[in-house]
Each structure stands twice: as structure tokens, then as C-alpha cells.
Amino acid sequence: MSKLVISAIGPASSVQDGGRHGAQRYGLTPSGAMDRLALAAANCLVENAPFTAAIEIGPFGAAFTAREGAVRVALAGAPRNADVSRRAVTPDTSMTLADGETLTLGFARGGAFSYLAIEGGVAGEPMFGSLAVNARAGLGSPYPRPLQVGDELQTAAASGAVERRIDLPRLVEGPIRVAMGPQDDEFGEDATNLFLDSEWKISATSDRMGYRLEGPVIKHLHGHNIVSDGTVDGSIQVPGNGAPIVLMPDRGTSGGYPKIATVISADLGRFAQIPAGRGFRFRSVSMAEAQSEARKFAQLLRSLPDRVRPIEIFDLNIEALQDANVAGAAVSAIDAGTWQIPSADALAQD
């Protein structure tokens, strides 16, 4: 066994997988990755099953160090600067950290969550078939809480397999698609139009339970109390103050506010990746279109292994350049979002 030690970590970072299903009838929410496609892509790169537990990394920087042996990992999701021993790491590739080597990640640029998959997965004790952290219910393994500096994840020793790259299709851009309901009849035409025609921003007080939206006030027709009913990932509930909340994987399993619409499942990951403060819009689609998109998304998830290929000579040339610390330092020097200022040592090597 090797282990991956958390050398630096920000808030909103935890072990997540495909979630625990089947216990919502007892009030236990599924949890699981905010962006399932990115989780699956990272896992695919290190030949894990798509929803194997990985590290979900929030918008801030992080660093991970291999100990007691080499560890093979892969990073996908929100773009961010990444380097191993000051060699820049290309996104959507696998890499092997030698014993003692540290993978350092910068802030997320243009997204919120990244996934670091570990070859062989994270060792832990599954609860309801999942290692996913649900801090409120005290669930998750090996730590039932967000990760902290000094935490250690036991992993398999690196296989030494050829490193790989995944080519992901460009995601759909534009508005986040929603299917209206289940309680859209609690809102008048004006409120519905205002919801669909306005620009929204995600509040900085959002978390894995829900994304609070900033924008116009959405008024109810008959008040904001309904008898609690079940919720899903992407339920858009409107509480008394008229500011919608989009429920995320750590949501309560039931809720007592009217739900005007639901984010379609194919857009959940894309929605989760919208950074706080950036404007976006919703667009209503038919149930037929939502379900057709869900089937396409399932097909995309199934196709991931076919999108992986070994890193070729051309890529290696780029890596060689990075080894010489030409490309890596250049990236660091021009990007204000970088996490580490190159040290005097690194600059001296140029």
C-alpha cells in the first residue's frame, strides 16, 4: 500500500463517489460528486470504475504528497494550474507521483470542482455502498467530514502503467436547462417569466446542500408553505424571501417550499461548476427533450473508456519542454490565478 497525504486543502473538499442510494426513505440523502462526468473522466484515466471514490476539490488550491510508495492519480473537472515538482501537469491526463513527490493545484479557473482519482480507489469502509462524505449525517470514509491537512488516504501502489489522456467533448454552453415543476402551478405567469428571463448569480453562501441564487424576487401565488414532499438533485425551491435555492447532492430529502422547476440531469454537473458571482440563465425544455438529453448523457458516460488513449510522442515532447521548466514557468508567470509564486530556485533554473 501507498498513501496520499493531504499537504494543503481548502474548504469544500471531500471524498465523493457516485453516492449512496436507497435510503432516502429514511431521510438519508445520496450525497456523491457534484460533477459526475468529471468524476467518471478522472476515474477512467486510472482504469477505475467510473464512480469510484475520488477527492472532490473545491475552488481553492490543494496539494497531495505520495508516501510509502508511488501513487498514480488523474485530475479532471475545473481547470486549474497543476504541477508536480514544478513540472506543469496537463489537464485530463493520468500521472504517477513518486514516493515523496507532491502534486500542487492552484485555484479553480472557470469552474468550481476538480476530481483527483486515485488508481485502485481510496481504501475505506463503505456505508450503504458508498464512501461519500455527508458531514451532517456523520457519514463518509475514511473521514466522515471534509478533508483536512494531514489526512492520509490509503491507496494501492502505482501500477506503472503508461500514462493516459482523455479527450472530452466540449460541453454544451448556454443556459442551464430546466424541466418545469413539480410545483410550477404555485407561481403565476409573471413569476415564471421572471424566473426564465432573468440573469442569475450563485451566492457565495452556497454549499453542497444547495446553491442560493441572487437575482429578482420570485413571488408565490399562494404563499410559500406547502406540505413537505420529496426533493431531487436540481430541485429549484423558492422559499418565503423569493430567492430560489437549487438543491445539490447533500440536500434534505424532503422540503416544504414550492419547487418551480428542476435542473435537467444532463446539466447538473455543468450547473455545479458555475463559479459564485458569474451570471447565467435558465431555459425551460420539454420532458421529451430533458429525457433525450439524459439518455445522451448516459451514452457519453459509457463512451468515456473509448476516449482514453496512451500519451503519445507529441505529448511527450510537450512534457519534455515542461521538464525543462519552460512551459511551466511561463504559465505560472502570466496567470494571476496561480497558487504558487515560482520560488527563486525555480526561476534560477530558467
Binding site: 415543476g181 406540505v227 413537505s228 430541485s235 440531469s265 429525457q291 448516459a298
Partner: protein, 243 residues
Amino acid sequence: MAATLSPPRILPSGDSAITVEFSRNIDDAANQRVLALDRTLASEPVSGVTETVPTYRSLLVHYDPVQIDFDRLGEKLSALAQRPVPPTTKTRRWRIPVTYGGEHGIDLEDVAKRLKTTPEDIVARHIAGNYRVAMIGFTPGWSYLSGLEKSLHMPRRKDPRLLTPAGTISIGGVQTGVQCLAGPSGWHLLGRTAVRTYQLHRNPIFLLEPGDHVTFSTVDAKTFAEQDRAAEAGEIVADLIAS
């Protein structure tokens, strides 16, 4: 054969779940139909259905849209929901020990004052009830019970408390409930039980099922403390008085 029941409303909750709604209100007959449809789906599984979540007035049915589409599943659920509700054959009945008032039920005095009676009378009325688990939701093990006596119905607090203790027994609106984990609540806190409706390293992890019957008994604070230690060690503490 008995006549079929009125059709429920089939509401979309996104592309992977359907809300089968029997009523907009808290309604015992509707809850019976929710639980009956839930049992039907457990005994006659519909291909593509992945999980069901009973609530007071509706059954949330999660499904895989790759296997079955909204229209087909909606029709199927509507037909199943219109079958006559079969009499429940097995009902479990639990007795849950509660220490009422004092530091464990900080709203008991206030509730008594508002209803112009004594705390002892409130406890007597609460204990006299035969309750049914209408739904479990919000947080793990939070069991919402129907069957609260009318005289105890009262609006929720204007200012919900951000933190209320694990094991709280409270009333809010027309409901009473057993709260398992510490957390926020806008209900009136009458007492506490040592019973864990959710405990990870115990078999069963979840004690109550939707549809179970529940009654309460009183214990003093000292007994509560003893039961709390036993419950922490994995004992169930509640009595299963019929099943």
C-alpha cells in the same frame, strides 16, 4: 372488485423522478394511499424504478430515464395508485420513552401557557395519542408522525432554532415528530428520547419505517440518562409492543 380510487396527480420532478401526488394537504387517507403505492412498488417492482420516497401526501419515485420514459411510467404509476388500498396485514407498534419538560423539553411550559392548561395535561394529551410514521425525511431518521390530537395543533415558531438536541420530541402544525440528529427546528420542543431512530453501527441502522405505529411513555430524567448510555452502546431502548 371494489371501485378504483381517484387518479393521483403525476408531476415531473426533473427527468429522473415523478411525484405521485394524492393531496395538497396533510391528509390521513392520502398518506395511506402513499404508503400503499410504496408497498405495491416493493412487492411488484417496475423495471427502471430505482428508489421510492414516501411523504405525507405524495410518493416520489426515482427512475432511470434510459430504461423507462416519463409518459409510460406515469401511466403505470397512475394505474397502480388507483387500485383499492389493501388492508395492512403487518403493522409494527413501538413504544418510545420520553422525558418531558425541564431542560429536555424547553417549550413545554410555554405550550401549556398558550393552551391555558398545565404541563402535566399537555404531557397526558401527547401520551394518549396513537401515532403513525407518515414519513421520514429532512435529516436521517427524522420521523414525522400523524395522529396529533387537535387541541395540540399550533403554528410553528416564528424564529426557528438553529440547533435543537438529538432525540427531541416536538410538535409543529398538525404534526408531532421524533428528531434523531441535532439540527435546526421551528417546532415546539416537549421532551427528549434516548431512542436513536438512526444509528450507524447498529442493526437495524434505521429503527422506524414509514407506516409503523408509535406511542410514547414517560420516563424521568435519570432513566433518560441511563437509556441514553445504553442507546449509545447500540441498544434499541424503544419497545416493540406488536408486529
